[in-house]
Amino acid sequence: MNTEGPVIKVEGLTVRYGDNTVLDNVSFEVRAGEIFVIMGGSGCGKSTLLKQIIGIETPAEGRIWINGTDTTELDDMELRKIHMGIGMLFQSSALFGSMTIGENVSLPLAEFTGLPADDIESIVKMKLGMVELAGYDNHFPSELSGGMKKRAGIARAMALDPAMLFLDEPSAGLDPVTSAELDVLIKKLNEGIGTTMVIVTHELETIFNISHRIIMLDREARGIIAEGDPRKLRTDSDDPRVTDFFNRRVTEKKNEGMTT
């Protein structure tokens, strides 16, 4: 893992939908080359935070820097340049159903590089080979399984060799074996190419197997309740919300107002 300075810096981020504050004054940094996991229970704002970082949504307050550029102050054209340097795997893979897998992967290459068609074809074959989908270039997304779609989504996200890759719930809806295979692939890409990975997940297997650092969000706290190495946090944290999550414990809550 590369240990250079932060490639992503979030400072005082607050996200509101109407009167509902989802994230309140959140700050953290992601270092170059690390696998950084944003984790937490359902509805704690993990995906919201990811959308804020990549600039799909605008924060109510706070600043987000990507490679030293404050993305909250950029217009659409400038933000597009930032987007060309990052890759994103969406929860549903978001492959274009009317295009083959090969066309999905070649789309950014054809649009942004000006490479000749045979070079693009070579790169597409290489990317599909990297995610173990060699030969599937003429298949349509509807002909692939969930795990294959995720891998095709990673191949598309990696098409322009981005320095940063964002993955939203990569293991969601996958069986444990496919999920573990995906973890291996993510680790291989991180170690091989040095891509910084920001992953949103609540899969403990994934978190312990591949992450270098995590932040844990909490719905009631509306922000970060733990940050660091998940293996240490599991044993050393004093916060029961953190240890309960890592140890899959159910916290009993008082049923106020109920008579039995």
Binding site: S98, M126, G135, N138, E191
Partner: protein, 375 residues
């Protein structure tokens, strides 16, 4: 493409040659580097080629692909090839490339373009299949409508009311506006001719008969097909894609009863009403031209309109609109249920619903014209 290529070549022509790479070997210069592979071999004819990567600060997968291509070319030319100055990171990137995948044949071959004869055959088969599916769906729908008539409590009346609002109330402004303008145009254009014969008063008859018997039902049906038929197809199609229709089935509901029947009943109830409004708005459009351009009084225009329209015209127009409503809602639902795949399939179903509905409207209208001629 970079102006300066980040390599130098050391060594003697025909002997050991070293390609010294430096800086960033990435996607930015991949095309430039790849296009120079042949010239590297042709101009230096190396007996042995070494690629020195010690000065490379950044190597991405495209850069690694260039090295693989270079090695493949060296092997093709039987030139011994080796890499030097490799770090752990660079080895890692190279190890990610699955060489077999670069020449792996596609597991699904692209369909070859069909000849005109094949296209004609495929189109005919597809059209016949489509007719079969529409007829089959119509039978099923008819059965469910009869069942609903016999079990009125099982009809989802809340949904019926909601669709009546969407199809009828929400559609009224656009139906009204278009019909009003249509009446205005018809009256204006016909007045130019009728004026010459001093038959101004017949402008009212022309607008009234044309709208009540033919154009009112057709225009309303076409607008409803564009607004609501497409919406039915898109709604059911999206539910199919999201497996919501499957969920209904597994929960014990009939998707036809749950999704199609409320839409069909709502359409059958409101399209005839919209048709009446359409004729009224068109007559109002004609009235404006009659009063302002032909010196007719409002009273005279309305009297002439009443004289021109017979109960038979109104009844036949309403029956037509009822049949149009049936066709539009049925086609919309059928196209929605037919969706397989993703977003593009929903788009195709929506387009197909509108096109097929308009085609059916014209066919039904022609059939009515023939039948009404002999009555």
């Amino acid at each position: 493409m970079s102006a300066e290529t980040p390599y130098t070549i050391e060594g003697t022509n025909g002997g050991d040659v070293t390609l010294v790479l430096s800086g960033r070997i990435s996607l930015d210069i991949f095309g430039d580097l790849s296009s120079r592979i042949d010239s590297i071999f042709d101009s230096h004819t190396p007996a042995k080629l070494t690629v020195d990567l010690a000065g490379v600060d950044y190597l991405d997968s495209s850069g690694a692909l260039f090295l693989v291509r270079l090695e493949d070319e060296a092997q093709r030319r039987s030139v011994p090839f080796n890499l030097s100055g490799m770090s752990k990171e660079k080895m890692g990137i190279l190890s990610l490339i699955d060489r077999q995948s670069l020449s792996a044949p596609s597991l699904a071959t692209k369909e070859r373009p069909m000849s005109i004869v094949e296209q004609l055959g495929a189109g005919t088969v597809s059209a016949l299949q489509d007719i079969y599916e529409v007829v089959s769906f119509s039978g099923e729908l008819f059965y469910d409508l009869v069942y609903s008539a016999a079990h009125l409590k099982k009809v989802r009346w809340n949904d019926v009311v909601s669709y009546m609002k969407k199809v009828g109330v929400d559609g009224l402004p656009i139906v009204g506006l278009i019909s009003f303008l249509l009446g205005l145009i018809m009256a204006f254009m016909s007045s130019l001719q009728l004026k010459q014969f001093g038959a101004n008063i017949y402008v009212a008859s022309l607008v009234a008969v044309a709208m009540v018997r033919e154009l009112g039902p057709i225009m309303t049906a076409i607008i409803v097909a564009g607004r609501s038929g497409s919406a039915f197809a898109a709604e059911i199609g999206t539910m199919k894609v999201n497996e919501e229709v499957d969920a209904l089935t597994t929960m014990g509901f009939s998707p036809m009863q749950f999704l199609a029947i409320p839409k069909v009943i709502a359409s059958l109830l409101v399209v005839p009403v919209l048709t009446v409004f359409s004729s009224i708005f068109a007559i109002m459009g004609g009235l404006i031209v009659g009063v302002l351009g032909l010196d007719l009084t409002i009273y005279t225009y309305i009297q002439q309109t009443m004289k021109a329209i017979e109960i038979f015209d109104i009844t036949s127009g309403l029956i037509k609109s009822f049949v149009f409503a049936m066709a539009i809602s049925a086609i919309g639902c059928q196209r929605g249920f037919k969706v397989r795949g993703g977003a593009d399939a929903v788009g195709n179903a929506t387009t197909s619903a509108v096109v097929a509905s308009i085609f059916l409207i014209i066919v039904i209208d022609s059939t009515f014209a023939i039948i009404l001629h002999y009555i």
